[in-house]
Symmetry: C2
Subunit: 398 residues, 2 copies
DNA sequence: AGGGTTTGTTTTGTCGTGCAACTTATATCC
DNA sequence: GGATATAAGTTGCACGACAAAACAAACCCT
């Protein structure tokens, strides 16, 4: 519990002003910020001047087609572009990704390679990722300051120590990715934050850009990769739980007498709605392309339709329990589940309507995330930038 | 998003000092508070003086058997006793309760009556509760200021409007308890906060007194009344969800092909581990006393043991899902589940160890709440007092 | 009795904000 | 085209809250 000195007051108000500018739909003037924060214009002016001088905010040329109101025209403010950025990395089972995102949410540079990493050696994968990162960093514009880096991983992560405890789909155990990436990031003295892929993708869904909020701000996110990862977002924040392992919806029990799961339990959701389970139930090969299942369903293939329906039913049962416990009536399907999202959602919504206690008052809804294999990388970068939004004073000279 | 003026700085530090004093195990001196908050002694002194003058804190006579260190002896500080209090009310299926709790966590006055309210008329029950409340308020010591009131209800509550949407076990629908209690509370101009019984009981379990924290601060609470209510506590705060309906663990699905539940779904936890389900599985009458089941198990009655085991298994399955999703490896059994807690916990822990993905790193544990039928009333009072702890400036003259 | 030690108070200085007056830049009206 | 209205942004001053340091108080120990 930190105390409040006068300086922290200024820090807090700098953060408040920054956040207000970033959160706004259209670039606000100093006066708009003053009105929104209930600070006085004089105070806002002083804070904004500092933030502009420090390169956090930018003054935009007033738009020509403006409203044309009487009075002195406003100076619109936005997040600076290209001055501060963060590096987002991702290791998936089938790809590596590196992205450089700036304070305005713009992707300054990006590299994505598809490569099968199942059963791979961590050190070589990290070396490859390191070279991707280095190339992306080299593309940063002149005068761009990289303030943080994050890495999205498909497994159980210990956020505190930056350790990947277990990633069954990669076959990795107890890896510290930071050491393998030091080379590429060493020169920048960047602390690498690691996080769960689903958690970070969910964060990216809730926040299109640093400090900006998307609707909804409360939802359950399901990320279908090989298994089914998940995340719970409350008020725009990812609920990571006591140790950072929250969101393992893939291993919620659908039927205690169901098929055994590789986690050691039985009847887990993953055994009903995982990628492998859905494909084999539809009579497709494991190596089938994602579009194949969708095509069959749209063609009216009975077996494929049954496969999707039963996956939807299992998802509904698992999510029904989650919604009952958390009262978060929005579910977002991401990853490979997004690709068959339209097919799944009717069945999922039907089961939810029946199984959720409060469905009578608020109907649970299913939303579908945009199909971005590197959403976790974006989320990792956004979380690093969020640190800057929270403490803008740290990057100001003062 | 509130701005920060200088006054709010003082408010925040008043709150910080108050919380520091209340949270301390033993009454701290001004110097202790300064050390804990990293404020200076001079600042703490001024703030404490104000709080003592306002009746929020009290100076205690230094203990005779003190440590006997050199230097000027300290003046220990504690929460004031009997100056500020809040009224906690509870309507259960089998009882009504009213409690007056002060800032030190002491119960100043209390009334509890056992009465069967299943299928009762809300208005008459509220009238009875009102008279209980009036009698408890009359017992308040001289000079005691009642700063808030709360009501714990066994059902779905809309916290914003103070409305009870549905309490199936009472047979109540769409009741606004505040209007029925105006008479008893009207003279005090108290805003009545309503809340879910399990949420408030869970809060009371996490906080033995206002501003004080109990271990654990993160847990899933199960409240067995007639049905099974629940609550999720994160970092000492009850997670109420988007609409305040979180925690309905009783209707998590154990088996989609299981018996129908009165909620309209099938195979809900309540059908396996509810009071009725457990008693009938054990071959006992619905009206059996709670101790009866326990007695039979301890006597080695096979049917009773089976009933408890199968309830424990169902609890384990439901809680396993919750722990996987929330990463909160502590479960607290309250209400009638607490009475058979020692019998249930071995089976529940065994199932959790098997079904929780992260059990390998952190073993999920079951704890048992103290048996207090009016724990919800205490929680309601504590939450009202928490408001004072958060904004002590509001009750100071300044 | 006197030095040492820790608590609590007083005094002075610094810093950030609010307030109000002022300047700047545009639109509108006659 | 000039006067006026309107709103944005700036400047100077006062207030309030905290920090720092010196001081007073109360107790232990030798």
């Amino acid at each position: 519990m930190a105390n409040l000195r006068q300086a922290s007051l200024r820090h807090a108000n700098l953060a408040l002003v920054t956040r207000t500018v970033l959160a706004a739909e259209t670039p606000p003037s100093r006066a708009d910020v003053a009105a929104a924060t209930s600070l006085t214009r004089s105070t806002v002016s002083r804070l904004v001047d500092e933030l502009v001088a420090g390169g956090v905010l930018e003054e935009v040329e007033s738009v020509v087609g403006g409203p044309g109101r009487p009075g002195r025209p406003a100076t619109p403010l936005t997040a600076s572009r290209g001055h501060f950025a963060a590096l987002g990395l991702q290791i998936g089972v089938g790809h590596l990704a590196a992205r450089l995102v700036d304070l305005s949410g713009t992707v300054l540079a990006e590299r994505l390679v598809n490569v099968d990493l199942a059963g791979s050696k961590p050190s070589s994968a990290l070396r490859r990722l390191g070279s991707l990162a280095a190339r992306v960093l080299a593309e940063a514009p002149e005068g761009c300051r990289v303030v943080g880096a994050g890495l999205a991983l498909p497994g159980l992560v210990d956020v505190g120590s930056g350790r990947l405890l277990s990633a069954p789909n990669l076959g990795w155990e107890d890896v510290v990715p930071g050491t393998g990436l030091e080379e590429a990031l060493g020169g920048l003295e960047l602390k690498l934050r690691v996080g769960n892929e689903a958690d970070l993708a969910a964060y990216a869904f809730a926040h299109p850009a640093p400090g900006r909020d998307n609707e909804p701000q409360d939802f359950v996110y399901l990320s279908g990769e090989v298994g089914i990862g998940g995340a719970v977002v409350l008020d725009g924040e990812v609920m990571t739980g006591r140790h950072g392992w929250a969101g393992e919806i893939g291993h919620v029990c659908i039927d205690p007498d169901g098929p055994p799961c590789r986690c050691g339990s039985t009847g887990c959701l993953e055994q009903y709605a995982g990628r492998l389970a859905m494909l084999s139930a539809a009579g497709l090969d494991v190596a089938a392309i994602d579009g194949e299942l969708r095509g069959r369903v749209e063609a009216g293939d009975e077996q494929a339709c049954d496969a999707v329906r039963s996956a939807g039913r299992a998802l509904g049962i698992a999510l029904g329990g989650v919604v009952n416990v958390l009262d978060i009536p929005t579910v977002v399907l991401g990853g490979h589940l997004a690709q068959v999202g339209e097919l799944l959602s009717p069945e999922v919504e039907a089961v939810l309507a029946r199984r959720v206690l409060s469905a009578h008052w608020v109907t649970p809804r299913v939303a579908i995330a945009p199909d971005d294999p590197a959403a976790g990388a974006t989320g990792a970068a956004l979380i690093a930038l969020e640190e800057l939004v929270r403490h803008p004073a740290d990057v100001l000279g003062t």
